[in-house]
């Protein structure tokens, strides 16, 4: 069918969905590249650490993680991280054990007991504690806190010495440099993290739930035990995991207050020997031979992978539990 002349449809315009101007194109490009920098950073850290530590990992095999001998100067260098790895877990666990009750209480007091102005001051103080550099905590831990904590350790040993945790081999010991004190130092560093996560979650609690429980005749205790704690348990767990990540990565402060030893210390937390991977890296680094240097890189790789996994899980838990409540 011939079309009448002069009525031809206008040419179809292409629909554009992308950026409309050159400036926008650059704006989007820059921000996208910048955000992918997060992946890039993780990839770069993995690649560089792996490249530097590969010879050591290949040579040591799985014994690198589980053995307990560190002799990098031998003809065939032996580097095994077992006691340090166990020490990191032990100190982090002690730290969490000490910090969690304090942190949950502090969050409870701030959200549910203090009046606005006092609560704000307390929150600021907790955040300030989080901002204290670890070298300052280490200085305080070594010169001010260790003597006090050693006294606590002595009391623990004298009153509860029959428990297997509180025995010590050497009766004339000074009770310093033990995993017990390192655990306290780690607790000081992770209390603010757990507190702020818990506080955030407590303050997002549905007030209707609490009021409902009170209307049904609940008291402070039953509301806490049966309403507040169950609804915020996962979030608190996330906060504890965040603290765990920080505890495993803690380096300088632990180095001051713990006697690092390749003689593995399973449960005797008052003994002056323990371990921490991060501190071991720093302690050995100064006079490391090339072979040992590779072993320390491998140790760094291990804590990087562990803390990355712990942090990812922790952040997922925290953001999930916050999202569900809203």
């Amino acid at each position: 069918m011939p079309q009448p002349s002069g009525l031809s449809a206008p040419e179809r315009r292409k629909l554009k969905t992308g950026p409309l101007s050159k400036g926008d194109k650059w704006f989007f490009r820059t921000t996208t590249i910048a955000s992918n920098f997060a992946f890039l950073l993780v990839a770069l850290i993995l690649i560089f650490l792996l490249a530097k530590s590969f010879p050591a990992l290949q040579q040591q095999g799985p014994a690198f993680l589980f053995g307990s001998k560190w002799d990098p100067e031998a003809e065939k260098p032996v580097m095994q991280l077992g006691p340090m790895l166990w020490g990191s877990i032990q100190v982090a666990f002690l730290g969490i054990l000490i910090a969690t009750p304090m942190a949950i209480s502090a969050a409870y007091v701030i959200v549910f007991m203090l009046h606005d102005r006092l609560a704000k001051i307390a929150t600021t103080l907790i955040d300030l504690l989080a901002a204290l550099p670890s070298v300052v905590i280490g200085l305080w831990g070594l010169l001010s806190f260790a003597p006090v904590a050693a006294n606590w350790a002595r009391l623990l040993h004298e009153s509860l010495g029959w428990l297997p945790f509180f025995t010590i081999g050497n009766e004339s010991g000074t009770f310093t440099d033990s995993p017990f004190i390192a655990g306290w130092i780690v607790a000081v560093m992770i209390v603010p993290i757990i507190t702020s996560v818990t506080r955030e979650i407590f303050s997002q609690m549905d007030a209707g739930l609490i009021n409902g429980a009170l209307a049904l005749g609940g008291g402070r205790y039953s509301v806490f035990r049966q309403v507040i704690l169950p609804t915020s348990a996962t979030g608190i767990l996330g906060g504890i995991l965040l603290g765990l990540g920080r505890a495993i990565g803690e380096t300088v402060a632990i180095l001051y207050v713990l006697q690092l030893s390749m003689d593995i210390n399973w449960f005797e937390i008052l003994e002056p020997r323990g371990g921490a991977v991060a501190s071991w890296i720093l302690a050995r680094f100064g006079e490391a031979t090339p072979a040992e240097y590779e072993g320390l890189m491998a140790a760094g790789l291990v804590i990087f992978i562990v803390t990355l996994l712990v942090n990812v899980v922790a952040n997922l838990i925290v953001s999930r539990s916050a999202g569900r409540r809203k």
Binding site: Y108, L282, V310
Partner: protein, 355 residues
């Protein structure tokens, strides 16, 4: 936080109503512990064995008088949580007090201004100081900031404005990176230096702080940008502004205080980092303002170095440097509080006017 607290029934009751009874309940336990300590018993031992049981008992009695058996549990919860949370503040105060009390003895104008060229571990405190370390810290942190803050803000822009599918993953990775152990960051740059044939210098120190500062800035800046109502951006776009102008002329000014907070918290995060600097820079007793060559001193490594030797004067030097570091962190932190507070306060007053 405040809104919830005010909605709770018990918040209507005045705390002062119970005050005489609460204070009264502390008296017996406090007296007992004072007598015990005066009699020569160890304080922490007496706290656990004498004060705690007595106080729990009197709290229980108090609770029982108010609400019978249910009141006992409530009173124990209240007392227990106050006792435990007090420990947190005692620990914090102990750190602050120790640093201030010891650091002040080392403090003097000369300690702040001079460097350490003629100082060894036993030199008396009248000579030398942390001047070079302050300059070194500022220099290194400045270099890190120049790189990390724009990049962190760009990441935050992507996380708030993009509808890309990878956004959630990027946010998770960024959050996880903000828990990166500082020693790993140092080792990473050390490995990188091996490949790039870089010498240890202030610049490599700044590189090692960069992975620590970036996620902090990105996270706080994202929260700040999220607070800007999306209507503002959409209105700017509807008026024909391209995205980048909408960002620079509308969103950024609106989120200014939040962005400054991100900068300050990022600074506070890295200014005290020790392990990466020990791994990637050489110590120096003199002033070095060239970031690309030679050793450079920083406050954290200064503390670390002088604490290593057991002499009294070196320890005092370490306390002094720690006090300077603490003041620096406190200032950054205080500024961040002031900046973010002025914003929320002005918002609140606007809301009141509407009501």
């Amino acid at each position: 936080m405040s809104s919830i607290a005010s909605r709770q029934p018990w918040a209507d009751r005045k705390l002062t109503d119970n005050l005489p009874a609460v204070i009264g309940s502390i008296i017996p336990a406090a007296t007992a512990i004072m007598i015990a300590v005066l009699a020569g018993l160890d304080f922490s031992f007496a706290l656990i064995v004498i004060f705690l049981p007595l106080q729990l008992l009197s709290a229980a009695i108090l609770g029982f008088r108010y609400a019978r058996i249910r009141g006992v549990k409530d009173a124990l919860l209240v007392f227990g949580s106050i006792f435990l949370s007090t420990n947190v503040f005692v620990l914090l105060m102990s750190v602050l007090y120790a640093v201030v009390a010891q650091g002040i003895t080392a403090m003097s104008p000369q300690f702040l201004a001079q460097n350490n060229v003629y100082v060894n571990t036993t030199t008396s405190l009248e000579y030398g100081g942390v001047g070079h370390a302050i300059l070194g810290t500022l220099l290194i942190v400045l270099m890190t900031t120049i790189a990390a803050v724009p990049l962190g803000i760009a990441m935050a822009v992507f996380l708030t404005q993009s509808d890309s599918k990878t956004k959630g993953l990027i946010r998770t990775v960024t959050q996880a990176l903000s828990g990166l152990p500082s020693v790993v960051s140092g080792l990473f740059i050390l490995a990188f230096m091996g490949f790039a044939h870089l010498e240890r210098s202030g610049f490599t120190g700044a590189l090692a702080l960069f992975p620590l500062m970036l996620p902090t800035v990105a996270r706080v800046a994202e929260e700040a940008l999220r607070l800007v109502p999306s209507d503002l951006r959409l209105a700017a776009l509807a008026l024909g502004a391209p995205n980048y102008r909408a960002f620079f002329q509308v969103i950024l000014p609106a989120a200014k205080s939040g962005i400054i907070t991100a900068l300050l918290l990022g600074l506070a995060r890295v200014v005290g980092e020790t392990a990466p600097l020990i791994l990637t820079t050489n110590a120096n007793n003199g002033t070095n303002l060239n970031p690309f060559a030679g050793g450079i001193a920083t406050l954290p490594t200064y503390v670390y170095g002088f604490l290593g030797s057991g002499y009294q004067t070196s320890q005092l030097r370490a306390w002094g440097a720690a006090l300077v570091l603490l003041i620096l962190v406190g200032l950054l932190f205080g500024f961040a509080r002031v900046v973010s507070r002025t914003k929320t306060d002005s918002k609140r007053s606007k809301n009141k006017k509407v009501k």
